[in-house]
């Protein structure tokens, strides 16, 4: 479950594709007319079309649960301010698009629940006259169009949502994705989604099985009023959008590029978790407002090597308030030593604290070992990386899969997020 909580965003993408895949088949079998829609859904064979229909519905509900959990988790962890404001704000309309897509999807079934949802929606928009009587085919075609158009808009919004993330996690781990889809199929088999009686303008919604994940706003409107519902929903949206400005912005000093030491290799561009670094005129350039001051760029820079003989070690890209030079000074102050420890400052553990484990250039480990440390340890945070990619990048560098690589003269062992290094 902790794995699922770490991948809620990616799980959202997995659920979107599950909905798209099941939806394509349902659309092929669907009759897009008022007179034929209800029957065409009922005519599907239970073992394939019926299961896909149930998966489609339950995937939509799970998408809601995952989205709300994602929102609450980011809110709880304070991940909505400063450099994260863009992702936060661009995520808010996605909740509306998700609900709109789901609600319109319910209308297509053209049963008593569709009638209830459509009338409640029209009533909340003060357009109830539109659907109380007979609904023409052309209007029904609009519902079909909306149920395709709104999810496409949602997908476009999801793409925008991850634009300020380096290596965005849009693919859920295979085990997780397979597990969720398998769970949805089992749920579909155990509790198949069914239609209510056909749309009847002369019948009121009585003891109706409501999907409380997607349709909760309708009962809420009936027990309060449409005005109360809009005040609540729009007020909540306004608060979510305004949140980055309502809370104090973290005082961060953005990374700075030293053009004389930057060779334009682009490693900092590739490794930045927030797309804050670009190459401009073959030199790195930092968007200060996007910078998390995590130091991962300094850890990626080939000039961040302590073996350089210069008095003042200046890296191509560096944190002004915690330079690579300062890191070398702290290492030198600890030597000689039986065991030199570097730790992620978020872990609160002993040793030389770095902003993120990926701020530590692998060359520093070899430098410490060759300058008087018998062993070196690097301790990552136990929880999910505060800077998204730090643990993964450190792992790739230490295991020599990614530049700057740990040299092969250094042996390393890994236990969880702890690394032990010694010379061969």
């Amino acid at each position: 479950m902790s794995s699922a909580l770490k991948h809620l965003g990616a799980l959202g993408f997995a659920l979107f594709w599950t909905l798209a895949a099941s939806g394509i088949y349902l659309y092929i079998r669907f009759d897009t007319s008022v007179s034929g829609a209800y029957a065409s859904i009922g005519e599907m064979e239970w073992w394939f079309g019926g299961v896909l229909r149930s998966v489609h519905r339950y995937a939509a509900d799970t998408f809601v649960v995952v989205t709300i959990a994602h929102l609450i988790k980011e809110l709880w962890q304070g991940r909505f301010r400063g450099f994260r404001a863009f992702s936060w704000i661009s995520g808010v309309p996605l909740v509306w698009l998700l609900y709109a897509s789901g609600i319109v999807g319910y209308w297509l079934v053209w049963d008593a629940r569709s009638q209830f949802s459509f009338l409640a929606t029209m009533e909340s928009l003060h357009m109830a006259g539109l659907g109380a009587g007979q609904v023409p085919d052309r209007l029904f075609s609009l519902f079909v169009f909306l149920h395709i158009g709104l999810p496409l808009a949602l997908l476009a919004g999801m793409w925008i949502h991850v634009q300020r993330l380096g290596r965005p996690a849009t693919l859920a781990p295979r085990v997780l994705a397979v597990g969720v889809v398998a769970a949805l199929v089992l749920l579909a088999l155990a509790r198949p989604a069914t239609s209510e009686p056909p749309w009847d303008p002369q019948a009121a919604a009585q003891a109706l099985p409501v999907d409380w994940f997607l349709l909760f706003a309708h009962p809420l409107m009936y027990v309060t009023s449409s005005a109360a519902l809009w005040v609540l929903l729009l007020g909540l949206t306004a608060v979510l959008v305004a949140l980055p400005w309502l809370t104090p912005k973290p005082a961060l000093i953005a990374a700075r590029v030293d053009a004389a030491n930057c060779n334009g290799c682009g490693r900092c561009v590739a490794d930045c978790p927030y797309e804050a670094v670009i190459l401009k005129d073959e030199k790195a350039s930092v968007f200060a407002e996007r910078c998390a001051a995590c130091g991962i760029c300094a850890g990626a820079c080939p000039s961040s090597t302590p073996f350089r003989s210069v008095q003042d070690l200046v890296s191509g890209i560096d944190l002004p308030d915690f330079t690579v030079h300062e890191l070398r000074r702290r290492v030198q102050a600890m030597l000689p030593s039986d065991e030199l420890v570097f730790s992620c400052e978020k872990s609160g553990r002993k040793g030389i604290a770095v902003r993120c484990l990926a701020m530590l250039p692998p060359a520093f480990i070899e430098y410490a070992l060759r300058s008087g440390a018998r062993r070196v340890k690097a301790l990552g945070c136990d929880e999910e990386c505060a800077y998204r990619l730090g643990l993964a990048l450190a792992q790739e560098r230490f295991s020599r899969l990614r530049a700057p690589r740990l040299r092969s003269t250094v042996r390393y062992e890994k236990l969880g997020h702890e690394y032990s290094f010694s010379l061969r």
């Binding site: 006259g129 009585q206 109706l208 409380w212």
Partner: protein, 167 residues
């Protein structure tokens, strides 16, 4: 083998989540009416008459206008509000003036009203005025028998002579 165990463990963890989704996707059930109630639903869209009648332009007025604008009549766009009244069993339960839509107030007026009533026999009278002044110019009166959970839909179709009651 390890992968299969991980998938099995994941599934075991998802059981409560899927149980939650399976339950709340249909339960608890919801009714918009109480036990033994029926519903009157007054719902229609109608464009009222113009608020001011069209006026014949004089020859002088027409001469002052550009040649392509010389319409014989001057017709203000604004429409009158609808005045709607609903009476159930001799008691007026709704009397509402509904303005036309649009910035120039020249569009349709939308009327919607829900009224739960005890199931059974009711005398229903619907009245509408769609002009600027005067008495109601459309009235329909009918005794209807409504079973619990059923709806009397009161529509207005000018082309069919006014109110239409559907049970």
């Amino acid at each position: 083998m390890k992968q299969a165990l991980r998938i099995a463990a994941q599934l075991a963890l998802y059981v409560p989540l899927m149980a939650l989704i399976g339950y709340f996707s249909t339960q608890p059930r919801f009714s918009i009416l109480g036990e033994g109630e029926a519903l009157l639903r007054l719902s229609f869209i109608h464009a009222a008459e113009r608020k001011q009648a069209c006026r014949q332009r004089s020859a002088e007025e027409l001469a002052r206008l550009a040649p392509n604008m010389r319409a014989a009549q001057d017709c203000p766009r604004e429409r009158a509000p609808l005045l709607v009244e609903l009476e159930v069993d001799g008691k007026v339960v709704l009397r509402r003036e509904v303005p036309p839509s649009g910035l120039k107030r020249d569009g349709n007026a939308t009327v919607y009203h829900r009224l739960p009533v005890p199931a059974g026999k009711h005398r229903v009278v619907a009245r509408l005025r769609d002009r600027a002044s005067g008495d109601f110019n459309y009235t329909k009166e009918e005794t209807v028998e409504l079973a619990p959970g059923r709806v009397l839909l009161i529509d207005f179709v000018a082309a069919r002579g006014g109110f239409v009651f559907r049970t």
